[in-house]
Subunit: 308 residues, 6 copies
């Protein structure tokens, strides 16, 4: 009988393994092929875990990272077996931000025959780097990000493009770009003011480059929960992801899409879009299944939803 | 002489009673004709109190509710004797949200000869249900909402469309829609992120359906004050309403209209609208009356303003 | 040798003194020519301090104030020697707001042959008064505002147009306009909801005119830091200004401009603008200088940036 | 056998007669109950004809007109038997515009205790009058307007809110409002620039009040066709309406809704909305029916579509 | 008695002469002090004529021109005696566009210590040059522009910011910027597509720099009237200006402001603004005066309106 | 010596051949590898010609077409040797529009376990098909489209996304979608109203599906030039493309990008973006080269610009 369960589990595993990337189950011991900077695993059904995986380099963002993120999250967006993502960093800290050594030539030695052409090429590059974090939003699967230790520079750009932010008590955050002579151009200046409630604080962080610690991150709303250590945080992140994964993917992904739409539109515009969205999405079997379970006081985890 | 005062008061009372709805004074013992789900009273001059009144059904939102709200607040908008609204729930909790039993057929069995036509009809219904809460904003009279006990699902849609939110220490809030298989489509996803300061928290609530208690509601800014119990809260709500009602209705209602305009526009757009609004509104006698009272250190309550 | 240093310092001083305004160094003992309501000093290199200076009138905003602010900040915007502004109030409180006595005729006795023409003139006046605070945003130099004691009416309009807000423990804030019969029309209704995280609180303040004290100002995010007294606050404000002034002006001013752009646009729009902005701004020598200092663990204060 | 056909026709007629308004078939000899200014008929299946019907007053827009339009087009929007509207004027001209005699008190003697309150009431009135023409857009049924003779003042506001404009060779158009001392406030200034291609012409018409004749109306794009006389125009209008009525109402009404959405949004915004709209609307049987007919080279008129 | 009339006329003249610029009446024989590139005259009551006046340089736009335009139109905006502007060019052609010789150093040799600082300074310059034409829109007085001969480069930027465009049969237009290696950055690319009806034509003109002659300018809607020669055009321009000047300035200027608002907003937004605008502007005596004259079939020219 | 020139030309040719697609020079005899529906050639230096190449199927748009277009124009966008595109159709007509036979299963038999999931998949498909034409805009190289014979359905979606439209005297255009039961969802409803000047005509075409012939296409502004036959049109298209290719690519591509930006934004927004764009782009050597050539009355064709 045991072997039957195992076999079934394996088949299940096989079924939810995306075709084009090798996902390693349950543990992360290094980057996952085809990635050199990311480790992608499936810690539980319907949950994909993405880990920044250059611990020896403090997860600094090198040239490979910027394009691997796009590939990784495009794949996640298309993967019907993934309903939610947990994003974290391997090693001692979440990320040291941009890998200046590796990236310097990209930024400091731009190509082009004159200033206009250098500008033209720089704009293409900036747009491409922006896409690295925008894919987190473009994928309709919610992303729970779990930050421990330092989250510096590009790390802040990254986490503000995630949906739910958690951190450990020892975490700190730093909008570092101003210290190296540039206005942060891959998302922080655009998203940070829309995810926390104090504009004075946003300006202080962005203009002075000072560190913000876990307590202030919590009271300002940057993170919604703080944990004693990485282990506790990861357990909570996976539990939260489990809650999300247990709910109707039609409901969950429609919620993410409409929350992002609402951020960028007026309330009347967003209500109109919502009605136009739900005129079809309410015609899902998930609604009947969920409503019935709710009335019967059953957990959503007991329901089987079709893939989306 | 006393009788003269009484008579005059009665006549005054009569004068500020709206023509088309019977308002019962000072106590709420059940729905007010012509409503079956709302109790409408006038606890003090210029203050209208609207109470969800299906206590035996935990103030669940049934079919009647959705249209009664529209009638009720359209009437309030047109009633020159009302300057501010206090909104609350009768019985043990604020509201259990949508009355699934009563509403199921509306949502689960939509009409139409094919998917397009079902969608067409669903869109009309969603838009109509959205209007149930949008009337709270379209009426220029500020709405102070006082929440005790549970505020679930549609209840969150409702309170985010109010202007000022108060709650009791035992209150809790739940974005329930994701649990029954749909993206919240009557206002929560559109308004919640614009009334509280932590986007991470908004996403957590909307994607997991977890409860949020009074303390977090206060620290996140959903409510601006928490009270020990319903009695203390209602006393404070009425006092606050009294403060608002005592001020110039030209100032108060212009403030509400322009605060909502500002929410949905850029700062320069909103400044332009404000200037265009006030070019006439500054030509009110209320300004002179108020300025004079302010200089004489008199309370606004001593001033008599013309009806608006 | 000492004399050489002094001479050089004096020459430096002379060099960074703007041509068209007399800046008094290090102390503020009264309004600075050509101003009657503002004192403008240079407490440290690259830092301009602007002080409301009618202490005997509780820094009330009289007719002169509204235009002096525009002149002052236009000059600051054009002054290459200023990289950051500290804004504060002289005397016992920050400001009592509008000087009703002085301004009454402007507002209460508008000119014009009929209502339309009076409205026309009022609109021009309101737009002009709005400009008084909008110049704080239009100048690309960050403004750190330090509030002690009372900040009333127009004071709230003023500080919400600044970038970073600090206050003392004894500070309080009051949206006073509703008390004198008008909707606040020079910025508070437009900016306050975008700088703090609780809309319920914004509405409460704007509709009731109640005072908000330092603790609530901090927890709501209106200010990002609270200090024991004015002295401690001013020291911290100058230190913070020093941090900002030490960083690349290309980075700092580009950050301010793009943060304001992001406030008024969707995230995708703001990202596009950012990329178009930085395609030239990344071609600054400041980037190389700053990156090198960062790698060498040197303070930004050791770097000399070209004027901007 | 003939009687059978007649009976069937009558029954058909009965079926498409809306419940709440008496529609007279095939001829228009006066206003239709409950209207005093409009004649509503059904000249052919699925086509509703609305006629301005105060010929003895040159179809001037009196007090009744402004609310009857709203009732009429709300009814049309809800009437499943109407798929397209032909709008025209009875008598010698299309319309002389506002009935100044009848409306003067509304505009020239507004109520209110002070300027602010008069303004408040005027704003409500203007908004209400704007709604009179906006209903033409809010109804998803396309409106073909046929203009003969004069189309003055409010007439231009009206026709610019219609979808397709036709006129006779003797027609002329006049933005009259500037002649009576006001900026046109019920639609012309907002819609005229968006329906014709020359902004110089729009400004000329609106600022000088000069007449524009049929040829210029055609060359500027205000109308898309000009006819020799009213008879020829009405025949063509009905034929065009017949073409529209023969097509899938899902396609036709979705087209109108998305064309209006595109007018008020950027191309990327409008494309997104369109995709969200059609994700359900493509699931209509009409698509299969229409595609099959198209492949079989059959006229759309041979297809029976479900009501919408 | 005649002398009395003359004296009174002179005094009237004197009264409507703006304080800070010497306007020469009825003829234009050269630039008007304090301008070196513009001739400003008053050809008839309430009409200001502005003439490009460097005929020997084909009215090329030199350094002085860009700031004189701003001064000139700010003055016009504030001048209560001006109700409408006629804009034209002295000499053989309307304008040859930018004076490359005079302007070259501004554009080709920008200042700044590095690319970022050069960019910073260039942006300020471009914004300043854009303002040169935007003042035409910011002044609420309508501008009728009359073009003869060539209208090249900056000339197209200029005329697209005017309200009504007229030209002679020999006029031609050329978007010249692409020929000298830059994207037109002072208005043409932004305004031209919004003033003519063919986007294909706009693109053709802007991308190839080809000339467009009067016939195509008329058929595309760039101009609304074409005249045989300059004399006929100027007579018509002044007659048209006379028609505009004869109408209520409240109506005329409110029309211009709302037409421009409508260009840049959705129809519902623009309707809302219009209602908020007219709630005060309808309270003008001009309405009664105009309505009465209209009913009495009198010309607007017989009415005396208060200054605005 | 001649052979030297030839060899050099060949080498030049080789140099501007993109690495990843085989371009056949000067003639188009069939689809170009890797495409099966498009023929891509280089008729002259810096000009890429893209031809719909399924003449035996009347260039109907089959499954392959929708993705080949994206690949093709992404490649064009990245190809520094291409400065302008000429787009046309092989065979008897431009295109018959969608290939219903080939595409039917995509649209008529969408996949998904319930209506919500079918909708989800349809939305992804529609978005993907929209991208097929949006790439024409996203590539900064201008596209001149030359239409002969019929341009039906998807053909109209395609050409409205091009920059300049030309046609032959025998061309006709048809918004066909309404005939097959759907609202046109890949661009026509969004772009057609923004490229022609008569909204009445747009609505007529979209709601009735009637044909529009060359004359009306010209007078309405859809095309800016009409030619006697395909040969004359192609010669003119290539000449026009030659004019564009001869000008500074910095100027040309910046013009296209800013014209599209202006379409989707208000004038002040677009001016701000333009200034921010040109602050770097004016620092091009092209400006000096072009200005010099212009002053020397030399053709732009004599200038050599660096690649972009």
């Amino acid at each position: 009988m045991l072997s039957g369960i195992v076999r079934s589990a394996l088949m299940n595993n096989r079924r939810w393994l995306p075709a084009h990337a090798a996902l390693r189950a349950m543990s992360s011991t290094g980057p996952t092929s085809p990635y050199t900077t990311l480790s992608v695993t499936r810690p539980a059904q319907s949950i994909t875990q993405v880990e920044l995986y250059r611990p020896e380099k403090r997860n600094a963002m090198n040239t490979a990272f910027w394009s691997e993120m796009v590939d990784c999250f495009n794949e996640i967006a298309a993967d019907p077996h993934c309903r939610v993502v947990v994003f974290c960093g391997a090693g001692k800290i979440f990320t040291a931000g941009i890998d200046l050594m590796d990236m310097a030539s990209n930024i400091l030695q731009p190509e082009g025959d004159d200033t206009a052409r250098i500008s033209w090429n720089l704009r293409k590059k900036i747009s491409k780097y922006q896409e690295t974090f925008s894919v987190l939003e473009k994928s309709p699967k919610p992303v729970v990000v779990a930050v421990h230790g330092a989250c510096i520079g590009g790390g802040v750009d990254l986490i503000t493009a995630c949906d739910i932010r958690l951190c450990t008590q020892d975490a700190w955050f730093q909008v570092k770009e101003v210290d190296i002579g540039l206005a942060a151009d891959v998302g922080t200046l655009q998203r940070l003011p829309k995810v926390i409630g104090s504009r004075s604080l946003v300006n202080e962080l962005a203009l002075t480059g000072r560190k913000m610690y876990a307590d202030e991150a919590k009271s300002s709303g940057l993170v919604s929960r703080v944990f004693a250590d990485r282990e506790a945080m990861m357990a909570a992140a996976l539990e939260m992801a489990g809650e999300i994964a247990a709910r109707s993917p039609v409901a969950v992904q429609g919620t993410k899409i409409n929350l992002l739409y609402a951020r960028d539109h007026s309330v009347p515009e967003a209500l109109d879009y919502m009605a136009t969205w739900n005129m079809s999405m309410l015609q899902t079997q998930d609604l009947m299944k969920s409503a019935q379970a709710a009335m019967e006081k059953k957990s959503p985890k007991t329901i089987t939803f079709s893939k989306l």
